[in-house]
Symmetry: C2
Subunit: 371 residues, 2 copies
């Protein structure tokens, strides 16, 4: 393969455009391109502004067995950072404007609008080519139905990596930490520095996070290869199911099977097999969402979920709705409210899940199925 | 369409054979053909012995909403028979031998071997062209992992319909009941005769069956069109999941999604949404099977389930193993024991689930996945 650098991305772009693997976009007069799929080793979400390449955030592998996974993949000590249940953004400065890119490489109108609330932006004055990689999470986000248990309103931002424009890799861990401190960036919680053999301590840590309903950990090796892996709690598997069970037919069924398998491996490794509370939580995760979906269907004739978020500028709320409508092909977006409140524009909209809506319509009317 | 009769089936056979929709089989020197798929209105499982056609058992539609389903589909009173959690057979006499056909139209070596234990065969002396449609169920059956809660050992047979060789339809209900009585056939429990508006009584009945962990009901309209529908209990959905969760990756994921949807509709219609016991049972259904699978994998390096059954003749045990090996393409059959006990041949074998075996092997070794 060629070396993965900005020149290679720019050279590959015409082919990617021709094959539909890259697309042109515009955001308030700013024109850019982004890779909509992994393509010739260039990660999906890589965005190009003129000659400036912002590499996509790379995939981090997941292990489903903690001890075996650590032992199989890590050769040096590693940091364990908390994995936050939110959406991934890369924040950088393009032509004097600081913008936030989604995982897919779109400029996110919501995050970009709220950046001044989410983090100090001074880092971009001294390091104008810095790319800040972070998770945005909270109950009032426009993308995800679930959020970390410790956030009660709005959204927060949690930095976990620094990149540079035009380069695919990350800043070394200690440099990243130094800059986070220096610029007062809000960071993901760091839960420790572990030796490869310290799996008992890790096991105790993940169980604590599980009990606190947190999502999990990302391990980052203290080595030049900067090897990484993620591992999630059983609670996060249940939370994913809970958040998605009213969307049972619009997600691929493997979504649920994967989480069940992760949960079962978690339960076995951490010796929780007989926990009635956990079993009840899993049962509730499936049934409560479907129950709400049915009640919703009976009341409104569709299955939907309401999302709320607040923005500084009205035009960004409208750009967000446009983006959501284009991004979710088969899921319908219904704007419900846009009003000023405490200096923000408060946006409410619904996502309508068409497959479950259609299926419940048929089944509640007594439709006969042949299976 | 042509009228569905024996002549039509025989006429269509060469095309079906050419297109791979019908196959030749032999059972102890008896040669026959059977339709392996629905084909030009001929149901899958239709079997042909020379000029004698045994029609496949037709599909019965399922409703997922009891009251709405009854009101949408029934125009006359109907009988409510219990649906038994077993496998469907058609029993008939071919050249002086009474045989049992599976749903797919194979001669079942197990059921055929055990017929003398399962039902009186006198009906075939007086009605040599009768076809007895029945469910065989019990903990010692070679096909299904679950069985009705009221059966503690071996298998039993439950007759629910009578057909005639060469004809696709059923004997009228009252004639069927008269023959069942006259020949002392073991029948499925009949739970009553209901008017279309009596949905409250039906609701109470299905809740009782649910509490007793029984499978459900089949409704048969008292009318010349003999309209039918089936409806299952929430308990049966949980039981299906429980019986199959150690087979999580070898079944299509929709298997689980469908049962979750059925269960959620049952819970909502019968006002059980806050039942902690039911939620815990659902959680257990998923987690206990997977836990057992993991323990099994750690002990034996494969995920399997052990089946036991008893037969009269040793050669039928061997024919059964051959049949199982051919019937389940990707699931491996491992014979474990065949010994004489109390006048029967006791057969034990294992079904190995390859997808979960392979996946657990990888994951428990710490494999990294990218999702």
């Amino acid at each position: 393969m060629s070396v993965l650098d900005a020149a290679y991305v720019l050279k590959t772009l015409p082919t990617a455009l021709k094959q539909g693997k890259a697309k042109r976009q515009t955001y308030q007069g700013l024109s850019y391109l982004h890779y909509t799929d992994d393509f010739h080793h260039i990660p999906r979400g890589t965005a190009i502004f003129g000659e400036t390449v912002i590499f996509g955030y790379p995939h981090i592998g997941r292990v489903l067995a903690l001890k075996a996974g650590i032992q199989a993949h890590f050769k040096a000590p590693f940091w364990a950072e908390e994995k936050i249940n939110g959406y991934n953004v890369r924040i950088t400065k393009i032509c004097d404007q600081v913008i936030a890119l989604t995982r897919g490489g779109f400029i996110c109108p919501f995050t970009t609008d709220r950046l001044v609330d989410l983090m100090p932006l001074k880092i971009f004055e001294e390091h104008p080519r810095q790319v800040v990689c972070a998770e945005v999470a909270g109950p009032e986000n426009p993308y995800l139905e679930s959020s970390p248990p410790f956030l009660r309103e709005d959204v927060k931002l949690f930095v976990f990596d620094l990149m540079r424009q035009g380069q695919p890799g990350f800043l070394p861990y200690r440099e990243k930490q130094a800059r986070i401190e220096r610029y007062g960036l809000p960071a993901v919680p760091l839960h420790g520095y572990f030796q490869v053999h310290e799996t008992c301590a890790l096991s105790a840590l993940i169980l604590k996070l599980h009990q606190e309903q947190r999502e999990g950990l990302v391990f980052k090796e203290d080595s030049p290869r900067d090897h990484r892996a993620k591992y999630v709690t059983g609670a996060s598997c249940i939370d994913d199911i809970q958040a998605s069970s009213d969307n049972l037919l619009d997600l691929p069924p493997e979504y649920f099977i994967n989480r069940l398998l992760r949960l079962a491996l978690f339960v076995e490794e951490h010796a929780l097999p007989s926990s009635p509370a956990l079993k009840q939580a899993l049962g509730s995760a499936f049934l409560d969402g479907l129950h709400t979906a049915m009640q919703g269907y009976r009341a409104t004739h569709h299955v939907s979920k309401r999302f709320r978020c607040r923005l500084r500028k009205k035009e960004n709320a409208e750009l967000l709705l446009d983006y959501l409508k284009h991004a979710s092909r088969h899921i319908q977006i219904l704007p419900r409210e846009l009003r000023q409140e405490n200096g923000y524009w408060r946006l409410e909209f619904e996502r309508v899940y068409p497959a479950l809506t259609g299926m419940l319509g048929d089944l509640l009317a007594g439709k006969m199925v042949y299976d």
